[in-house]
């Protein structure tokens, strides 16, 4: 809400600086977001009259103007084609400053001295909204008479400071200058002086001019109408135009401007219909009929739904109630007679209609948030008064006022101690009464009770908590002490699972990985990018764009995208991880919330990095989580995202945990990654579920170990896991550990075979092993390996 300070000052005495006013208003709840002044940056520009225009002897496109600037006549050279003798124009005198820090100096233009500059609207940083005609290509021609030499800021009322208030949705009453004046008066303990509303005696009778029928009294609890005759459409006076412009509303003509002025002043949206265009001179407030259409004032054809409230005449809709009027009854230069409408429409209904039509207006914003039931009648008189004062027409006597609501003020009975209890204060009831009275509440103190009469404009006040806020904000939030809670002592801590979750991150970071965070919605196209079918997904119905329209079911595409971005930026090595949620719909269309599951994705590329680096990290994580023993890595050739020969699926016991491997070159290519890229995606929630970090002490060995090496040659396809399995099985208990320390292919090894070298450690817990004993077992292992794996000793 933009409020020109001059306007505010008309209703409340303010004798403090604007800065202090802003600070104090902010601290009582009317947050000031900024103060601007349109004339800032203009200095030394005055009103001048062009007395004479002569041709420039040296230039076709320039003219020489003699300009009367009050105390003297100066000579100004200009290239603008739109000036004429007798025009009043803004003249930047020598030394003048214009917006954008432009300083005007005397100088010669093609040999002719110019003592100043005639200004365009643009040079003064004005728009058509600020002053009609400001945007034309040429010098700004003033339409009113001003004393010559008058400062242009004063003449065009450009020196008014405009405060921008952030009005919260609960305070519809503050969407008006008067509402904010009330707040200001309470805040700075000053007096209010509202305009007195007096309509001069009128003739005629409104009931003879127009008929009003409200069919839907729930959606339209009050409808007031007045009729104005002998309309004389013209510009409204400059002060009104400037105030409207400063408040962000474009001046149109006197009638429209008056309705807007009253809306800004009092908060009551109003509308004027051209009565001669209203069929049967009848206003019907009703729901739209099936298939009805209307062209609104913004020249858009709109289809109406049957649950939208319209203002209609005897035949057709002439306005969408509370949202926008129809073009068919628009005020034009030929309008002779109007109906003024000042009503209260149901907020939710207006909100629904305006949202459905995608049409927001100053009016709909105010109706949505609620209008004081007493306001329409006051406002229509205020408009009539302004029409009379401006001589814009003849007001017909009487108001049609269709009222179907209780206008009695709402009352509230509260225990004043409840306020202290909520705020942590020890205010006396008298202090509360004083504050509430300053906010226009009626208050009676009766023992433990405050009997409160709520002013009709305070639609937001419903219970004790609302009264508590009123007391608190005027008493001052800053005056409330800072205390620490009494009551039950609580133990602050993370759960075991939360700690483990964080510990996992520490392990990953300790392994050289950097944590990333990516968006949880992605493009449906990512599935093609990773060479997968799109699974069932949760789809956003109103996404920002197709590329962010589904909730992800895998973290891999986001990881690849980040790796690709880094690679494109010439980062030659990248090791990343993300722990994030995926979203799996249980039914489609979605009836219940989808399953949200935390996944861990690791991604890396870089010269010396291979599958085993990534597997090492995963194993370290498993070891720390106590699940390495149970982890099983099995080759998987069928996952189309991954390299068929370099990918393992991972199980812990019988539970599938995820996948680990090198990305398929085709998928890499889709991301512009023409290098080996390693990715693991693991179900982090399940890992946390299965983890077992309980540690048990095992006695230190008392007897020496015997170490034997074993080098065998097997077919290439034989897996290390299979070999280790056979070794462990045939060795039995006394085999303490098996370590694979070398894999070799090449010279001395037949084609299609590989050499695998193991170090086996034997130990018995209760005795020193005899060599013969170990030899026997070692032999058995070799035999079993030969039998089951086709292994030969190297």
């Amino acid at each position: 809400m933009l409020v020109p300070l001059s306007w505010l000052k008309e209703y409340v005495d303010i004798d403090i600086s604007t800065e202090e006013l802003c600070d104090r208003m902010t601290m009582t709840g009317s947050n000031v977001e900024g103060v601007t002044c349109i004339g800032d940056g203009i200095e030394g520009v005055v009103v001048g009259k062009i007395l004479k225009i002569d041709e420039h002897p040296n230039a076709d496109k320039l003219v020489i103007c003699s300009v009367d600037v009050g105390e003297k006549v100066i000579q100004v050279v200009t290239g603008a084609p739109n000036v004429a003798e007798g025009d009043l124009v803004p003249v930047a005198m020598e030394g003048a400053r214009l917006p954008g820090d432009v300083t005007i100096k005397k100088g010669k233009l093609r040999g002719i001295e110019s003592e100043g500059m005639l200004c365009s609207g643009d040079e003064l940083n004005l728009t058509d909204q600020d002053y009609d005609g400001a945007e034309i290509d040429g010098i700004l021609i003033l339409r009113e008479e001003y004393p010559l030499g008058m400062d242009i800021r004063e003449a065009l009322l450009l020196n008014d400071e405009v405060m921008e208030f952030e009005i919260t949705p609960n305070r519809s009453d503050c969407l008006s200058v008067i509402g904010l004046a009330r707040e200001a008066a309470t805040t700075i303990e000053s007096t209010l002086k509202f305009p007195s509303i007096n309509v001069s005696p009128c003739t005629g009778n409104v009931y003879n001019e127009v008929k009003v029928m409200v069919e839907d009294t729930k959606l339209c609890p009050r409808y007031c109408a007045r009729v104005i005759k002998d309309i004389k459409i013209e510009d409204s006076p400059l002060w009104m135009r400037r105030r409207l412009a400063n408040a962000g509303i474009r001046p149109i003509n006197n009638i429209v401007d008056i309705t807007n002025y009253v809306m800004l002043e009092m908060g009551q949206p109003m509308h004027a219909f051209d009565l001669d265009k209203v069929e049967d001179r009848t206003i019907v407030v009703r729901k739209a009929k099936e298939g009805e259409k209307i062209t609104t004032l913004d020249d858009v054809d709109r289809e109406l739904k049957t649950n939208m409230l319209v203002i209609a005449d005897a035949k057709k809709p002439i306005g969408i109630a509370g949202v926008m009027g129809g073009a068919n009854t628009e005020i034009t230069d030929n309008t002779n007679c109007i109906i003024l409408e000042s009503a209260k429409f149901d907020g939710p209904s207006v909100r629904f209609t305006s949202k459905r039509l995608g049409l927001r207006s100053e009016a709909s914003t105010r109706f949505e948030k609620g209008i004081d039931i007493n306001l329409p009648r006051k406002a229509i008189d205020r408009a009539a008064q302004l029409i009379q004062e401006l001589g814009a027409g003849t007001v017909v006597d009487g108001i049609i006022d269709v009222l179907n609501a209780d206008t009695n003020p709402r009352e509230l009975e509260i225990r004043w101690q409840d306020i202290n209890r909520l705020l942590g204060l020890e205010l006396k009831p008298e202090e509360m009464v004083k504050i509430l009275k300053s906010l226009n509440f009626g208050v009676q103190h009766r023992g433990d009770i405050l009997d409160i009469v709520i002013p009709s404009f305070r639609l937001d006040i419903k219970g004790t908590e609302d009264i508590a806020e009123e007391v608190a904000r005027i008493y001052g939030y800053d005056n409330i002490p800072k205390t620490l809670m009494r009551g039950t002592e609580s133990r602050g801590r993370k759960t075991k699972r939360q700690k483990l979750h964080d510990y996992g991150k520490d392990i990953l970071v300790g392994s050289g990985l950097y944590e990333i965070i990516t968006y949880s919605f992605v493009s449906p196209k990512v599935y093609a990018m990773i060479d997968k079918q799109m699974p069932e997904v949760v789809t956003i119905s109103n996404p920002l764009g197709e590329d962010q329209s589904i909730m992800r079911t895998t973290l891999i595409p986001s990881m690849l995208e980040v790796l690709s971005r880094n690679r494109n930026r010439k980062v030659d090595r990248c090791s990343l991880f993300e722990i994030g949620r995926i979203f799996i719909p249980k039914t489609l269309p979605l009836k219940e919330l989808p399953e949200e599951r935390q996944m861990l994705c690791i991604g890396m590329y870089g010269d010396e990095l291979n599958f085993y680096n990534l597997k090492g990290i995963v194993q370290m994580l498993f070891r720390e989580f106590g699940i390495l023993e149970k982890a099983e890595f099995t080759p998987i050739t069928t996952d189309t995202t991954f390299h068929p020969g370099r990918t393992a699926s991972i199980k812990i016991g019988d539970t599938y945990i995820g996948i680990l491997g090198e990305i398929h070159p085709k998928v890499g290519e889709n991301y512009g990654l023409n290098i080996p890229v390693l990715i693991a995606e693991l179900d982090y929630d399940t890992i946390l579920d299965l983890s077992d970090t309980q540690k048990y002490y095992k006695g230190l060995p008392k007897f020496p170990a015997v170490e034997r090496d074993l080098a065998i040659i097997v077919k290439k396809e034989v897996l290390a896991a299979q070999l280790e399995n056979v070794i462990r099985k045939s060795a039995g208990d006394i085999l303490e550990d098996v370590k694979l320390f070398d894999i070799y292919e090449g010279d001395q090894i037949p084609e299609g075979y590989k050499s695998m070298a193991y170090s086996l450690i034997y130990r018995a817990p209760d005795r020193t092993l005899k060599y013969e004993e170990v030899d026997a077992i070692h032999e058995r292992i070799i035999k079993e390996l030969a039998e089951h794996m086709g292994a030969k000793l190297r």
């Binding site: 709840g29 947050n31 919260t168 949705p169 609960n170 907020g347 909100r351 629904f352 209890r421 909520l422 705020l423 942590g424 219970g463 908590e465 609302d466 508590a468 806020e469 608190a472 904000r473 939030y477 800053d478 002490p481 800072k482 205390t483 620490l484 809670m485 009494r486 009551g487 039950t488 609580s490 602050g492 801590r493 993370k494 939360q498 964080d502 990953l508 970071v509 300790g510 050289g512 950097y514 990333i516 965070i517 968006y519 949880s520 956003i540 109103n542 996404p543 920002l544 880094n566 930026r569 980062v571 990248c574 090791s575 990343l576 949620r581 979203f583 269309p589 979605l590 919330l593 949200e596």
Partner: protein
């Protein structure tokens, strides 16, 4: 014989002093003390001496032997020291060369700041709760005193999945979710990801993160809320940070407030970051609206409480001086390495 022994002694001492390396010394040892060594030879001749001379000569021979051995040991030690010093000198390295790079990663700046925030609240007795990101309209709006027709629904541009299911626009739905399953006292913070359909620019992201706080108990006051937030702000931004509590409006709290802290960058002097006001808005808060307590099944006559919510991304940006929220989600490793 005495003469012989004395000659051996003098010659040996002379020779030992000239020795340059351990090999030479060993040769000398053999020459004098070895099985066929000169001193050994002399001692072998001892038998031929008269019995009365033997003790004297024996003593002398032992003295000579002892002296030679002593000299040799001392010389050997010197030689070894020299050798070791020489080796150490050869082994000298440039200790100013940088150490071997041990690759360690980093947490994302959002996680680091969140961890700090969590620590502060855990220190004040809070626990951590979570909730779903795909949420029911009921928890995100309805139960927070924001019915379908409420104007403040416009303030938050919401991504919808269906009419009743949406992407949560704040972490506040966890308030009622928690109240439904936990009786007071409740003292939790809720970190999480939230969604609003804002177009991306330097200060807006359709996905960002919040930390919600919720306290419900008997006798909880607005003064307590101010106390907790003041401690939090001072812990996070430093003891000298001031807080300012401004009245505001949220449908689910009443009274409501916005909280400003003195600008982290300029300390309240006024700078570009704080738009020259000296203050930066860091969170919204208030006393839980009785309607919300009712939705949570909590007796609002007996219990009161407060809630607050802060934007994690914004706080991370303020703390680290990051001027563009997009950097947080781009994950350029050169950015990530800085935290």
């Amino acid at each position: 014989m005495r003469q012989k022994l004395e000659n051996i002694r003098d010659e040996a001492i002379e020779n030992i002093s000239k020795v340059k390396d351990l090999d030479q010394l060993e040769r000398l040892r053999l020459k004098y003390l070895g099985k066929k060594g000169e001193l050994t030879q002399v001692l072998r001749g001892m038998g031929k001496l008269p019995a009365e001379d033997r003790p004297v000569m024996g003593q002398l021979a032992n003295e000579v032997r002892y002296l030679i051995e002593e000299q040799m040991d001392e010389h050997k030690k010197n030689l070894e020291d020299k050798l070791l010093n020489y080796r150490l000198k050869l082994e000298t390295i440039d200790v100013t060369v940088p150490g071997t790079n041990i690759e360690r990663g980093n947490l994302h700046p959002l996680t680091s700041v969140l961890n700090e925030i969590i620590d502060i609240f855990i220190g004040m007795g809070f626990e951590i709760a979570e909730g779903p990101e795909v949420e029911l309209d009921y928890y995100n709006f309805e139960a927070l005193n924001i019915p379908k027709s409420h104007p403040s629904r416009d303030v938050q541009d919401t991504f919808y999945i269906t009419d009743e299911i949406l992407l949560r626009t704040h972490t506040s739905p966890v308030q009622v979710r928690t109240m439904e399953v936990q009786k007071p006292p409740i003292k939790i913070i809720v970190p999480g990801r939230v969604y609003r359909s804002d177009d991306v620019d330097a200060t807006h992201s359709p996905i960002f993160h919040q930390v919600e706080g919720l306290v419900v108990d008997e006798h909880i006051t607005m003064a307590d809320l101010k106390g907790v937030l003041d401690v939090f702000v001072k812990e996070l931004f430093g003891e000298r940070t001031q807080t300012k509590f401004r009245p505001h409006y949220f449908p689910f709290t009443e009274p409501s407030m916005e909280v400003d802290a003195t600008c982290v960058t300029c300390g309240g002097e006024g700078c570009r970051i704080c738009s020259h006001t000296g203050w930066i808005e860091i969170l919204g808060a208030g006393m839980i609206h009785p309607n919300v307590l009712k939705y949570g099944g909590i007796d609002s006559e007996k219990y009161s409480g407060f809630a607050f919510g802060l934007g994690l991304d914004r706080i991370a940006n303020l703390k680290y001086g990051i001027d563009d929220i997009r950097l947080l989600y781009e994950n350029d490793i050169r950015f990530l390495k800085q935290f």
